[in-house]
C-alpha cells in the first residue's frame, strides 16, 4: 500500500513541478516577446544536429545488434532446402541493408544539412519526371530479381516429394505433438476423427478401431465416466429418474449427437476395406521425440485435433500450420545429425525442436517436441524398441473387451 502511495505522490508532485516550470518558461517567452510557433534558430539547429547524431547512433546500434545477435542461435540450416533459404535470406538482407543505410542516411543527412539558415530561401522544385522514372524503375528491377529468386526457391520447397520419401505424420493437439511412422511399407493408415478412442488417439481407421469406436458410442466407458447411448436412453426414459432441466437438456443433446455420429460410423464401417488394415497396424506412434534419419527425404503431413497449431522447426527452416479438418504437408531432408550440430555449435546440450507457433491456448508456449537427427543404424536401433500400433491397440482392445463390449475411456485419456 505504501509503495502505491509513494508512486502516486511522486506522480502528482512531478506533474505540479513541471507545470510550474512551464509557466516560468512561458513568462520568459512573453517577456522577450517571442511566440510559441517561432522556433529560435538555436533550437532548430539543435534538433537538426540531434537528428544527425540520432541517425549515426541508430546505425551503430544496428551494427552492434547485428554483430552480437545477428546469427546466434539461428545458426546454419540443418536441412537441404534450408541451405538454399539461408543463401536467399543473406542476399535479401544485403539488399535491404543497403536500402536501409542509404535512405535513412540521406534522410538524416538532409535534415541536418538543409536546416533553415537566415537569408537562404528554399528551392522551388515541384516535380521531375526523370527522377520519378528513375526511382520507379530501379526498385522495379531489384524487385524483379527478388521475386524471381524467391519464387524459384518457393516452388522447389513446395514441390511434391519424390517417391522414396519417408511418410511421417505429425499430429497436434492441446498441448502436445505425436509423430506417426509408416512402418516398413511406408504407408500410413487412413484416419477419421470419429474413430478416436482412448487407445486410438490419432483416429486411425481399421476394422477393429471402427468397431471399438462404435461400441464406445453405444456403451460408453466401463467405469461409467462417459455414458453410451444405451445408458443415456435408459436414464432419460426411466420415469423414476428426476433431473434438473439443464442436465436433462445436456443429456438429450449428447444422446442426439451420439446417435448421429454412430450412424456415420456404421456407414464408414460398412464401406471399410479390411485389406487396408495392414497399412495401419504397422504404423508406429511416438509422443516423446521425433527421430529422423540424416540425409533421407521426408514427406511430413500435419493434422490437428482441436484448434490450429503450427509445426515450427526453426533449425530446419520448416514451418506449416496444422489445421483441424485439413491435412497440410511439407517435405524436408535433414542434413546434419544432432551429434554433429552440437559439435559445430559448441553446445553439448543443444537439440533440434518442434515448437508450436500458432496460439492454441493457455499452455501454447510449452507445446514442443524434441527432434533427433541420427544415422540409419542409430534409428534402426531405436525403432526396434518400439511397438507398432497393431500390437498396442489389438492387445489393449482384447484385454479391455469384456462381454458387454464396452471399450476405452476417452474422457479419462484426454483429460
Amino acid at each position: 500500500m505504501s509503495f502505491k502511495l509513494v508512486v502516486l505522490l511522486v506522480i502528482v508532485l512531478g506533474t505540479l513541478a513541471i507545470a510550474q516550470l512551464i509557466r516560468l518558461y512561458e513568462h520568459s517567452y512573453k517577456l522577450r516577446g517571442r511566440r510559441e510557433e517561432d522556433i529560435p534558430n538555436r533550437d532548430n539547429k539543435l534538433n537538426a544536429n540531434a537528428l544527425l547524431v540520432f541517425g549515426i547512433a541508430l546505425f551503430a546500434f544496428f551494427i552492434w545488434l547485428m554483430a552480437k545477435y545477428g546469427y546466434t542461435s539461428r545458426g546454419e540450416a540443418a536441412s537441404l532446402h534450408g541451405e538454399n533459404v539461408d543463401w536467399l535470406f543473406d542476399i535479401n538482407f544485403i539488399i535491404i541493408f543497403a536500402v536501409f543505410f542509404l535512405t535513412n542516411g540521406v534522410l538524416f543527412w538532409f535534415s541536418f544539412k538543409y536546416v533553415r539558415k537566415p537569408g537562404v530561401k528554399a528551392f522551388f522544385f515541384t516535380h521531375s519526371n526523370k527522377l520519378e522514372l528513375i526511382w520507379t524503375v530501379i526498385p522495379a528491377i531489384v524487385l524483379a530479381f527478388i521475386i524471381i529468386m524467391g519464387l524459384k526457391s518457393w516452388n522447389d520447397i513446395m514441390a511434391p516429394s519424390e517417391n522414396q520419401a519417408i511418410n511421417v505424420e505429425i499430429f497436434s493437439e492441446q498441448y502436445k505433438w505425436t509423430a506417426r511412422y509408416p512402418g516398413s511399407d511406408n504407408k500410413l493408415g487412413g484416419f477419421d476423427y470419429k474413430a478416436t478412442t482412448g487407445n486410438n488417439p490419432l483416429a486411425i481407421i481399421t476394422t477393429a478401431t471402427l468397431d471399438t469406436a462404435i461400441k464406445y458410442m453405444e456403451f460408453g466407458t466401463d467405469d461409467g465416466s462417459v455414458l453410451g447411448m444405451s445408458l443415456l436412453e435408459e436414464k432419460l426414459n426411466n420415469p423414476k429418474n428426476m433431473f434438473i432441466p439443464k442436465d436433462r437438456l445436456k443429456m438429450e443433446k449428447e444422446l442426439d449427437s451420439k446417435s448421429r455420429l454412430v450412424r456415420l460410423l456404421h456407414q464408414m464401417r460398412a464401406r471399410h476395406d479390411s485389406n487396408k488394415d495392414v497399412n495401419a497396424y504397422d504404423d508406429v506412434l511416438e509422443t516423446d521425440t521425433l527421430h529422423l534419419i540424416v540425409d533421407r527425404d521426408y514427406e511430413f503431413t500435419f493434422r490437428a485435433k482441436d484448434v490450429i497449431h503450427s509445426a515450427y522447426m526453426p533449425h530446419f527452416r520448416l514451418q506449416m500450420n496444422t489445421v483441424p479438418g485439413m491435412v497440410t504437408r511439407f517435405k524436408m531432408r535433414p542434413t546434419i545429425t544432432t551429434e554433429e550440430i552440437r559439435k559445430r555449435r559448441n553446445n553439448p546440450t543443444f537439440n533440434y525442436i518442434i515448437l508450436c507457433n500458432k496460439v492454441c491456448g493457455s499452455a501454447h508456449y510449452k507445446m514442443k517436441m524434441i527432434v533427433v537427427v541420427e544415422t540409419q543404424a542409430q534409428f534402426d536401433k531405436w525403432m526396434s524398441t518400439k511397438k507398432n500400433f497393431g500390437t498396442t491397440f489389438l492387445t489393449k482392445a482384447e484385454a479391455a473387451a469384456p462381454a458387454e463390449g464396452v471399450v476405452s475411456d476417452l474422457q479419462v485419456a484426454v483429460n
Binding site: 517567452y29 544496428f62 545488434l65 542461435s73 526511382w135 520507379t136 527478388i146 520447397i157
Partner: protein, 601 residues
C-alpha cells in the same frame, strides 16, 4: 443537408447556433470540429490503455515468474496471484493491446480525428455532408470502445486468441476461457465499430466529392485530403468483409453452423461440425486485415506530406506522383492479403501469386519515400515538433518497409512467420509510422482545434523520448525473431531446454526491450501533460501559426459553426506554393488569386 444550406446563408446560421445548449455543443454535436476532438480524446484514452497493457506483458516477458507489485496492482489476485501474471491473462492482454491499437487508436482514432477535422476545413466546406451520421459514427465508436474495455473486467477475461482471433480457438469456449463471454464482447464491439467506421467513411467520401468549394478541383486538393479520401474508399470496400467474417464466426458459435469448423475433438468432446474451413476465416479476415494496414498508414502519410512541405518551406515533390502512388497503394492493398497465409496450408501456387503482388506494392511505397527525401532536399527546414515526428515517420516507414521484403518472400517467410520478426516489422512500419504521423498531426493542428499552442520544448522532449524508446524496443525485437522466438509466448524459458545460447540471447534482448518500452511510455506522459495543460492554459494561437497555405488557416482562430464568416473562400492555386520565386512571402495561401502572368506550378 445542413451543410448545404450553410452555403447560401452560412453567416446567419453561424449566429443561430451560438446559443445552443451544452449537450448539443459538447456531447451530441454535429460539428465536425467537435466530433474530431471527441475522437481525439477517446483515442488518447484508448491509446493509454493499450500502451499500459503492453507494459504489463513486457514485464512478464523480461522477468517471467518473478513477482511484481506493478502486476498485482493492475491485475489483482484474480489474474496475477502473488504478482505473477496468469498465462491466460497474458494472451488476453496481447489480444486486447493489438485490437485497441489497430482498430481503436489507429483506425478509428487517426481517421476519426483528422478526416473529420481536415476534410471540411481543407476543401472549404462548412461541415460534413451529414452531420447527423457523423455524430452517429462517433457515438457508435464510443459504444464499441466501452464494450471492448468492459471485456477486460469480466470474470473469464477478455478474448484470448490474438487480435486476429482465428477459429477454432476463438469459436470454442472449451478451448480457452477467453473464448466465452470475452469473445462475445469482442465480436459485438467489432460489429459496432465496423458500422461506425462505414458511416464515417461514406461521409468522408461524399464530402470530398460534393462539397469542395469553388476552384477546389481534385487536382488542387491537399495530399491530406487525398489520403483520407483513398482511405475511406478502402474502408468502405474492406470493412464489410470483416463484418461477414465476424457474423459467420458468431453463427458458428451460437447457431451450430460449420463455416470454420470441421472434425474437432475438444476437451474430449467430439463435435459434429464437418466441412468447414478455418482457412476460410483467415481469407475473410485478411481481406480486411491487409487493407487495414493502409487504412492506418495512408492518413499518416497524408498528414506528414502536409507537415513536411510546410516546414521545409518547399512544395511537396512530385504532387501527382504522390497521388498516383496513393491510388496504386490503395488498389494493390486489395490483392495482397494472402501473404499473411503462406504457411497456413493454402495452395502454394496461390502463395506465389501473392508474393508477386505484395512485392509490387513496394514500388509506390518507394516512390513516396524518395519524394519525401527530395522535398527535404534544398529546403529551409524548421523543426517544429510536428516536423520532427514527420521525419520520424519517414525513417520508420523505411526501416519497417524493408523488412517487409523478407516477409513478402514466401520462401523466407517460412522461417520468420509468426515470430517476433513479424511483430517488429509491423510495429515499425504501421505502428510507429502511424503513431508518428498522428503526433505530427496533433502538434501541427492543435492550434486549429483548440485555438491554443502546445508547448514546443515539451514537444521536443516527447519526440526524442518516443523515437529513442521506439527504436530501442523494435530494433532488438527483429533479432529475437530471427533467433526463432515465436510470438504470443507467455514465457521463453522453454528455450532453455534445447538451446541455452538462444535462451540467453532472447532474455538479454527482452530485458533491453522492456526498459526501452517503459522509457517510451514515460515519454507519452510528457505528451499527456503538455496536451491537457495546453488545452486549458496554452498560449493563444494566431490565425496561421505555421505560415501554411491550406484553407483551414484562413478560418477564424475561435472555432465557429460553419467554419468561415460570410462567403466560403475561393481556391485559385494548389496548396504547395512555398518559396515560389517572385512572391514576397515564402508562402501563398490557396485563396490568393494568381498574379498577372503567374503560372500555376
Amino acid at each position: 443537408m445542413a451543410a448545404l444550406t450553410h452555403d447560401t446563408n452560412g453567416h446567419h446560421e453561424a449566429h443561430a447556433h451560438e446559443d445552443e445548449g451544452f449537450v448539443s455543443k459538447y456531447i451530441f454535436s454535429y460539428d465536425h470540429k467537435m466530433i474530431s476532438k471527441q475522437y481525439l480524446i477517446t483515442a488518447i484514452f484508448m491509446g493509454i490503455v493499450a500502451m499500459m497493457l503492453s507494459i504489463l506483458f513486457r514485464i512478464q516477458l523480461a522477468w517471467p515468474g518473478e513477482s511484481s507489485d506493478f502486476l498485482s496492482m493492475f491485475l489483482g489476485e484474480r489474474w496475477a496471484p502473488g504478482g505473477i501474471m496468469k498465462e491466460n491473462m497474458y494472451l488476453g492482454l496481447v489480444t486486447i493491446h493489438g485490437t485497441i491499437m489497430v482498430f481503436f487508436l489507429l483506425t478509428g482514432g487517426l481517421s476519426g480525428i483528422f478526416s473529420n477535422l481536415l476534410i471540411p476545413f481543407q476543401i472549404g466546406a462548412r461541415d460534413m455532408a451529414s452531420g447527423f451520421m457523423n455524430m452517429l459514427s462517433y457515438w457508435l465508436f464510443f459504444i464499441s470502445s466501452i464494450i471492448m474495455l468492459t471485456s477486460l473486467f469480466i470474470e473469464t477475461g477478455p478474448a484470448m486468441g490474438g487480435w486476429t482471433i482465428y477459429p477454432p480457438l476463438s469459436a470454442l469456449p472449451q478451448a480457452i476461457e477467453g473464448s466465452g463471454l470475452g469473445m462475445i464482447l469482442w465480436l459485438s464491439s467489432m460489429a459496432i465499430f465496423i458500422a461506425s467506421s462505414l458511416m464515417g467513411s461514406l461521409n468522408y467520401i461524399v464530402t470530398v466529392l460534393n462539397l469542395r468549394t469553388k476552384g477546389m478541383t481534385m487536382s488542387r486538393m491537399p495530399l491530406t485530403v487525398w489520403a483520407f479520401f483513398i482511405t475511406a474508399i478502402i474502408g468502405v470496400l474492406s470493412f464489410p468483409v470483416l463484418l461477414s467474417a465476424v457474423l459467420l464466426l458468431t453463427m458458428d458459435r451460437v447457431l451450430g453452423t460449420s463455416f470454420y469448423l470441421s472434425d474437432i475433438i475438444i476437451n474430449g468432446e467430439m463435435l459434429e461440425n464437418h466441412g468447414g474451413s478455418p482457412v476460410l476465416y483467415q481469407h475473410l479476415f485478411w481481406f480486411l486485415g491487409h487493407p487495414e494496414v493502409y487504412i492506418v498508414l495512408l492518413p499518416a502519410l497524408g498528414l506528414s506530406s502536409e507537415v513536411i512541405s510546410t516546414n521545409s518551406r518547399k512544395p511537396i515533390f512530385g504532387y501527382r506522383a504522390m497521388i498516383g502512388s496513393l491510388i496504386a497503394i490503395g488498389f494493390l492493398s486489395f490483392i495482397v492479403w494472402a501473404h499473411h497465409m503462406f504457411v497456413t496450408g493454402m495452395n502454394p501456387f496461390l502463395g506465389s501469386v501473392f508474393v508477386f503482388t505484395t512485392l509490387l506494392i513496394t514500388i509506390p511505397s518507394a516512390v513516396k519515400v524518395f519524394n519525401y527525401l527530395t522535398t527535404l532536399w534544398k529546403g529551409s527546414l524548421i523543426f517544429t515538433p510536428a516536423m520532427l515526428f514527420a521525419v520520424g515517420l519517414v525513417s520508420s516507414f523505411i526501416t519497417g518497409g524493408v523488412t517487409g521484403i523478407i516477409l513478402a518472400d514466401s520462401a523466407l517467410d517460412i522461417m520468420v512467420h509468426d515470430t517476433y520478426f513479424v511483430v517488429a516489422h509491423f510495429h515499425v512500419v504501421m505502428g510507429l509510422s502511424a503513431v508518428f504521423g498522428m503526433f505530427a498531426g496533433v502538434y501541427h493542428w492543435f492550434p486549429r482545434m483548440y485555438g491554443r499552442m502546445l508547448n514546443t520544448r515539451l514537444g521536443y522532449l516527447h519526440f526524442w523520448m518516443t523515437i529513442i524508446g521506439a527504436y530501442g524496443v523494435f530494433f532488438p525485437m527483429h533479432f529475437v525473431g530471427i533467433a526463432g522466438a515465436p510470438r504470443r509466448y507467455y514465457d521463453n524459458s522453454v528455450f532453455n531446454e534445447f538451446d541455452t545460447v538462444a535462451h540467453d540471447m532472447i532474455f538479454d534482448l527482452n530485458v533491453i526491450i522492456t526498459y526501452f518500452a517503459i522509457f517510451a511510455a514515460i515519454g507519452q506522459g510528457v505528451f499527456l501533460f503538455n496536451f491537457f495543460y495546453s488545452v486549458f492554459r496554452g498560449p493563444k494561437s494566431v490565425q496561421n501559426p505555421w505560415k501554411s497555405n491550406t484553407l483551414e488557416w484562413t478560418s477564424p482562430v475561435e472555432p465557429i459553426h460553419g467554419n468561415w464568416h460570410g462567403e466560403l473562400p475561393t481556391v485559385h492555386r494548389w496548396p504547395y506554393d512555398y518559396s515560389k520565386p517572385g512572391a514576397e512571402d515564402d508562402f501563398i495561401p490557396q485563396n490568393v488569386p494568381l498574379k498577372d502572368g503567374e503560372e500555376e506550378h
